[in-house]
């Protein structure tokens, strides 16, 4: 069963009098439990595709089923609800709230989900221990290393048990060793059955995934699966 089903998605932007066709008809499916990388040079439409799959934006045309729910027609707060429940984001520059503790940062999606305070704390701690940072839950981001900050961000992405973990250049701001550690964490999560979508322009990072979709000029250029060893 496909957790994500994208059919013939297009996205047009108007820049002044010009219309830019960022996506020109993209179709693919992602199965439950897949670890997939989406690659492409800048300007390829990769970011636009990511925004649409991440429910941050809506397509101009085409259909997008997430967990068998049509989401391409949803707007505003409905999409916010989907993002909250179905998608966990990990960003290149961590995007942690600077003045909040690690635990508070992790609990943020639960606050927006309306989970009660006791559960928030319990699930926040669970998520932090999943990334091995329960001992640092009272630390502010400035008191954590880059790798630790990214792990806090991963804990935040996981805390509401999303269908998809969505990582946008998660190792882009990390040195190779911590980058490797973070990738290892993704592998562990994948092994536990987590569906992961990785957006990257680095071949080495993409090579970690089972499957790579390569985008160019608003179209899928290739969709390759690694042979299972």
């Amino acid at each position: 069963m496909n957790i994500i089903d994208v059919k013939n998605i297009t996205k047009h932007y108007s820049l002044g009098t010009q219309t830019v066709e960022a996506l020109r008809g993209i179709s693919f499916g992602i199965e439950q439990g897949e670890f997939i990388a989406i690659m492409g040079p800048s300007g390829s439409g990769k970011s636009t595709l990511m925004n649409i799959i991440g429910c941050l934006d809506s397509p101009t045309d085409g259909t997008y089923h997430l967990n068998n729910q049509e989401v391409s027609t949803l707007e505003g707060d409905e999409l916010a609800g989907i993002r909250n429940k179905e998608i966990g984001f990990v960003f290149q520059n961590f995007h942690l709230l600077a003045r909040n503790s690690a635990l508070d940062n992790v609990m943020l999606p639960l606050k927006y989900a309306g989970v009660d305070k006791v559960d928030q704390i319990k699930r926040g701690k669970d998520a932090l221990s999943q990334v091995g940072l329960e001992s640092r839950m009272d630390h502010q981001p400035s008191e954590l290393s880059g790798g630790q900050q990214q792990r806090v961000a991963i804990a935040r992405a996981l805390v509401n048990n999303p269908s998809i973990l969505f990582a946008d250049e998660p190792t882009g701001n990390l040195d190779s060793q911590t980058g490797h550690d973070v990738m290892q964490l993704f592998h562990n999560l994948h092994q536990q059955g987590q569906t992961i979508i990785l957006i990257t322009h680095e071949n080495e990072v993409a090579a970690e995934a089972q499957r790579t979709i390569f985008i160019k000029d608003g179209l899928i250029e290739s969709d390759t699966r690694k042979e299972k060893l």
Binding site: D57, D77, H95, R99, G114
Partner: protein, 401 residues
């Protein structure tokens, strides 16, 4: 998101930009402070006026001879001691009547000579005026009828004569060529604005009439009416008696006038009210300016925190949650300003009460009201920036540099 959560986020963000936040609230502080100071000062002034009225257990009216007015043919009939006696004999209202003869005379004691305001009055004068004797006694009705040459001096007359008032009790002085014996000193009353009872000399009415001024024309008749009568009832009664005494026919105008001193305090009340209204206007303007300042800083804050807003939206914040967060931040900012303003305003008001010797009373409703109003200012001026924040596109906001 829970309200409490939004509030702690708001407080955090205000704390993060503490100086900027405090500077922003200055106009709110000034506005609220002036409201509090005004309400406080206004209510104390009011109380002081009310007290001065209720201190007099009764209402005092004054009757003056009418000055002839050009076009109208009113013969300027003087008020006389017999008018006062007629009022006294009238039993319709159990009022107290105090006719007064005033004039200026020179007062000589040893080698010192000063010009002094002389008041010839009845023995009831002291209590009607609410004055008290500090030393010696006031003259009696018997002294008055006997036209005795006795006098009571105000508390600071002695100093003017290069001695002390107390030392003058029992001494003879020369008042306009007539020798008087000082039999008492009044307690210090302080200046009432147009006359200073401490610098006057009081002598019996008939002594003043026969021995000092040589006239039975009085300058005014004070009538003290119990509070159970309205000033209008009292005025009608006074009019009735005096019109009869002065032989004024029906349709003719009074040749005397009656002043109700409470009218003066009414004017004072009005002046206080106008003054308050003016300052509340100023407070309103500064709250308005403050509100615009808050709006400005909230717009800056929204721009600075675009990525944070993008992140919150990516994590599932609804427009309403973002709207609420920023409105609460603006409201919190204004409430903090309001509270600082209340503290400043109360301190200012407290200083004024200390100097004026007033009672310090701020109505709780004024404190609550001005803080609530500040909150409303925050709400009103915070809505637009908050809407801007709430309507940001998450994908765009996340990548904002």
């Amino acid at each position: 998101m829970v309200l409490q959560e939004s509030i702690s986020t708001a407080v955090d963000s205000i704390r993060a930009n503490l100086l900027r936040s405090l500077l922003t609230t200055i106009a709110i502080v000034i506005g609220t402070a002036s409201v509090i100071a005004m309400v406080g000062i206004g209510s104390s002034a009011q109380r002081a006026i009310d007290d001065s009225i209720s201190n007099l257990s009764a209402r005092t009216l004054s009757v003056y001879p009418s000055r002839g007015r050009g076009s109208q043919k009113i013969s300027a009939a003087p008020l006389s001691i017999s008018d006062a006696d007629a009022l006294l004999k009238d039993k319709e209202i159990n009022w107290r009547v105090s006719p007064e003869i005033r004039g200026s005379k020179s007062l000589k004691y040893k080698n010192e000579s000063i010009s002094i305001s002389v008041i010839g009055a009845r023995e009831s004068y002291l209590s009607i005026q609410g004055y008290e004797i500090d030393q010696g006694t006031f003259f009696t009705q018997r002294d008055d009828l006997a036209r005795k040459r006795v006098a009571i001096i105000g508390s600071s007359v002695g100093t003017e004569l290069k001695t002390s008032s107390k030392a003058l009790v029992g001494q003879d002085i020369d008042l306009g060529g007539v020798t008087f014996k000082i039999i008492g000193v009044t307690k210090s009353e302080g200046s009432s604005g147009w006359s200073n009872p401490d610098e006057q000399i009081y002598i019996p009415l008939l002594t003043a009439s026969d021995r000092v001024f040589g006239r039975d024309r009085v300058d005014s008749i004070r009538v003290e009416v119990p509070n159970t009568y309205t000033p209008e009832e009292a005025m009608i009664s006074i009019e009735r008696v005096l019109r009869r005494e002065h032989d004024i026919g029906p349709g003719e105008e009074n040749n005397f006038r009656i002043n109700d001193w409470s009218q003066f305090t009414d004017l004072q009340k009005q002046a206080t009210a106008i003054f308050s209204a003016l300052l509340i206007g100023i407070a309103g303007i500064s709250l308005m300016v403050g509100g615009i300042g808050v709006m400005n800083i909230m717009l800056v804050s929204v721009t600075e925190r675009t990525r944070e807003i993008g992140l919150r939206k990516a994590l599932g914040a609804t427009q309403q949650a973002i709207l609420l967060q920023f409105i609460i931040e603006a409201v919190t900012l204004c409430i903090i300003g309001g509270i600082i303003g209340v503290i400043f305003g109360s301190s200012l008001y407290f200083l004024v009460t200390v100097f004026q010797d007033w009672v310090f009373t701020i109505p709780f409703s004024a404190i609550l009201g001005s803080v609530m109003f500040s909150a409303c200012v925050g709400l009103f001026f915070g809505i637009w920036p908050a809407r801007k924040a709430a309507q940001l596109e998450p994908a765009v906001a996340l990548r904002y540099e």
